[in-house]
Symmetry: C2
Subunit: 383 residues, 2 copies
C-alpha cells in the first residue's frame, strides 16, 4: 500500500473510527484501525464486534493494499502534526511508514486478514432523517435509557415505524421519553413500504446512538438508514456506522401515556429547573423526595423539600394553571431529566392525581399550545 | 445575626472559601463555612487546619452574630439562584434562614464557637508581588513539585529572600524549576529589611499556591504577603489566605545549576513540544526514553524514539546551534514540563554533555538573547 492524503481528511477519519477501538487482551486487533485502499479511496474501519465504523476519504493511491495499525498510536502521531503538510502512507511487511513534512514514523501493525468482517450493506437505504433533528431528539431520549442489563431491551432505543411517522422512545420503567418524527415521501427509500409491512418495531443499542451523536458534525444534513438481517446501517457524511440490533420485545409503552389530564400548569423552564436543582440539594441522601404543590388561586407552583440533616427549602414559581390544585412528590432527578433537554422557554406540567403518571411537554412560544411530538412521562412517588 | 448583601458578593465569597472545606468524619465542622459579622461587614471563613481562607464582603448588618453552615449545601443553594435579587440572611438557634426573591431556605448549622481559630495577622505586610506575574511564575514552578511525602520539604515551593530579589523554586530531585522576581523598594513593607536579616529561606506548601492561583482573578493587581510564627499570609483583593509553612531544610539547589555550556540550540517552542509529544507516544511503557541529537552541520535537532512494541519515529527540527554536536537521552515528561509553560516562541536548550544537567531557558523575541529569570534543569538518562 502506498498513498498520499490530506491531513484534514486523515485526522477526521481517525477521529470517527478510533473511539470504538479498545484494549482487548483476547483479541488485540480490536485495538487497531484497518487501513485499506478501495476504488481509488482510503477506507478506515474499526469495530468492537457490536458496532463497526467505516470512514472513507479521498487519496492519491500509488499502490493498493491494506494493514491494521494500533489506533491510539496512530491518533497520537497524527493529531500532534502541524496542519500544513500532506501525509504519505506506505505499508510493507506489517509496518506502516507515515511521513508528513519533517515528521516521520514507522508503526508496527497486525495482518489485515485477521481483522473482523464488518457487515456490508446489500441493498439501498430504507429512509433518511434530518441529522440535526435526530441529534436533538436523541439528547432528549437517551437520558431515560436503562443501565440494568437484566432487561436488555430497555438498554436500547425503541423505534416504531409507520407510513408517516417514526417514534423513538426510551424508558427505564421509572420514566419514559418519546419523540415522534414525521417522515415525508422524499425521505423514504424504494423499499420503505415493503419493510414496514413486515417490521414495525426495532431496538437500537443506546451506545450506537452515542457514537452517532459524536460523529454527526453541526454541518451534517441527512442521515441515511438501512436495516438488514438484524443489523442497522447509518450513513452520515460518508461515514458508515453498522450496529447489531437489540433482541427482545419492547414494552407497549404507548398505552401507559395518559391522554387526558385534570390539571395543567405552564411555567418557565429555567425557573423550574433552578428550583428543582435547589430542592434536590436539600433532600436527604436516602429519600430524595421533592414536593410540587400546584395552587391555582395563587397562580403558582411551590417546589419544596426538607430533611432532618439539612433543613428545608421552598421556591414559589408563577404559573398559568387550569384545573384543581395538586400536591405530588417526585424524585428530582426524574423531573430534571425531562425538562433540561427541552429547548422551549416554557414547559407544561400535566397531572391527573398524586399517584398517576405525570406528563411534561414543550410549549409553543407563539400560540402557547402544547407541542405534541415530545412526551416525557414520570411516575410520582406515592405519599 | 441578620443582614442583607448582594448575590454577586456572597457568591464570590462562597467560591473563595468552599473549596478547602471537606467531609471530615472526625471533625464535621471543617465541612462548614463560618459566617460572622465584623465591623459592618460579613466575613466568611473556612479552614482545613493547614490552610485557612477568609473572604470579607460589604453588607447591611441589622443584627450582629455568627453561625457555621455546611458549605456544599450553601453553595448549591446560592449558585443556583437567579442573579437579580438581594440576599437576606438570618441566623437563630443554629439555623440560617436565607431568602432571595421567591427562593427561600432554612439550613441547619453548627455552633460558631466550635469553629477552629484561623491565625490572625498581627503586624503589617512584609512585601507585595504583582498578582498576574506570581500566577505565571507558579504555573512554571508547580510542575516540579514532588509528590513523595518521604521528603516533605520537596512537597513545597522554596522561597529565597534577598534585598532585591525573591527566588521561587521547586524540585522533585529529577528536575528543577526556578524563577527570580525582582522586588523594588515600593513593594517592600517597613519590616522587610529586619525580616530578611533573620530569615532567608522558607518553604510554602504547594497546595497553598494552588488555592492562590484559583482565587487570584485576572483583574487582581497585587498580592500582599506576611510571615509570622511559621504562618504565611496572602491578601488578594480582600481575601486572606493563611497557611502553615513546611518544616525542614530545602536543598541548596543553586549550586547544581550549571552556569556555562558547551552547546546551545535555539528552537521553536511549539515544534519542540509537538515532536516530544509524538516521540513520547512511541516509547515503551517501561522505558520512556527519547533521544535528542543536536547536529550543528545540518542546523537541526533530531528528536527520536523507538520500542519493540510500537515501532519508531523521528522528527527533524530546524535550530540555531553553537558548539559541538550532542546526543542526549531524556524522559519526555521532564522535557515537556519544562517547555510547555513557557510563553516565548523560542526556547534555548543548553547542554554540556550526555550525563550533566541540561538547562532550558526562555529566549527574548527581539534580541534573541536568553532570558535569565527562568531556569529549568533536567537530568538526562545516562545511556
Amino acid at each position: 500500500m502506498k498513498l498520499i492524503c490530506t491531513q484534514e481528511n486523515f485526522k477526521r477519519a481517525i477521529f470517527n473510527t478510533e473511539r470504538i477501538t479498545g484494549k482487548q487482551i483476547t483479541l488485540p486487533i480490536l485495538g487497531n484501525i484497518l487501513l485499506e485502499t478501495e476504488k481509488g479511496r482510503l477506507k478506515l474501519s474499526a469495530t468492537n464486534l457490536e458496532v463497526g465504523v467505516v470512514s472513507t476519504i479521498g487519496s492519491k493511491i500509488e499502490e493498493e493494499g491494506k494493514i491494521t495499525i494500533p489506533s491510539k498510536l496512530l491518533s497520537n502521531f497524527v493529531t500532534n502534526l502541524p496542519t500544513e503538510d500532506k501525509i504519505i502512507l506506505e505499508a510493507k511487511d506489517q509496518i506502516l511508514k507515515i511521513s508528513s513534512g519533517s515528521y516521520s514514523a514507522q508503526i508496527k501493525g497486525l495482518d489485515a486478514h485477521d481483522f473482523p468482517i464488518i457487515p456490508k450493506l446489500e441493498n439501498g437505504f430504507l429512509f433518511s432523517l434530518p441529522a440535526q433533528e435526530l441529534k436533538e431528539v436523541m439528547s432528549k431520549i437517551l437520558v431515560c435509557i436503562s443501565l440494568n442489563e437484566t432487561r436488555p431491551e430497555l438498554t436500547g432505543v425503541n423505534v416504531l415505524f409507520s407510513d408517516k411517522e417514526i417514534s423513538l422512545a426510551a424508558t427505564d420503567s421509572f420514566r419514559l421519553a418519546e419523540e415522534v418524527i414525521t417522515i415525508d415521501n422524499k425521505e423514504k427509500g424504494d423499499n420503505y413500504a415493503a419493510f414496514i409491512a413486515k417490521t414495525t418495531s426495532i431496538i437500537i443499542p443506546a451506545s450506537t446512538f452515542s457514537e452517532i451523536l459524536r460523529i454527526t458534525s453541526p454541518e451534517a444534513n441527512a442521515i441515511n438508514i438501512a436495516i438488514e438481517e438484524n443489523q442497522i446501517f447509518f450513513e452520515i457524511e460518508g461515514v458508515l456506522i453498522v450496529s447489531r440490533l437489540v433482541n427482545g420485545k419492547y414494552p407497549e409503552y404507548k398505552q401507559i401515556i395518559p391522554q387526558k389530564f385534570n390539571t395543567r400548569a405552564v411555567l418557565k423552564k429555567e425557573d423550574m429547573s433552578r428550583a428543582v436543582k435547589i430542592a434536590s440539594a436539600f433532600t436527604s441522601s436516602k429519600s430524595g423526595e421533592i414536593t410540587f404543590s400546584i395552587n391555582s388561586k395563587n397562580k403558582e407552583v411551590v417546589i419544596k423539600s426538607q430533611s432532618q440533616e439539612t433543613g428545608e427549602n421552598l421556591t414559589k414559581l408563577p404559573a398559568d394553571i387550569t384545573g384543581p390544585d395538586q400536591e405530588i412528590v417526585f424524585n428530582p432527578r426524574y423531573v430534571l431529566d425531562g425538562i433540561n433537554p427541552i429547548p422551549t422557554a416554557q414547559v407544561a406540567f400535566l397531572v391527573n392525581n398524586n399517584s398517576s403518571p405525570v406528563v411534561i411537554k414543550m410549549v409553543d412560544e407563539k400560540s402557547g399550545n402544547v407541542i405534541e411530538k415530545y412526551t416525557y412521562v414520570a411516575m410520582p412517588i406515592k405519599s
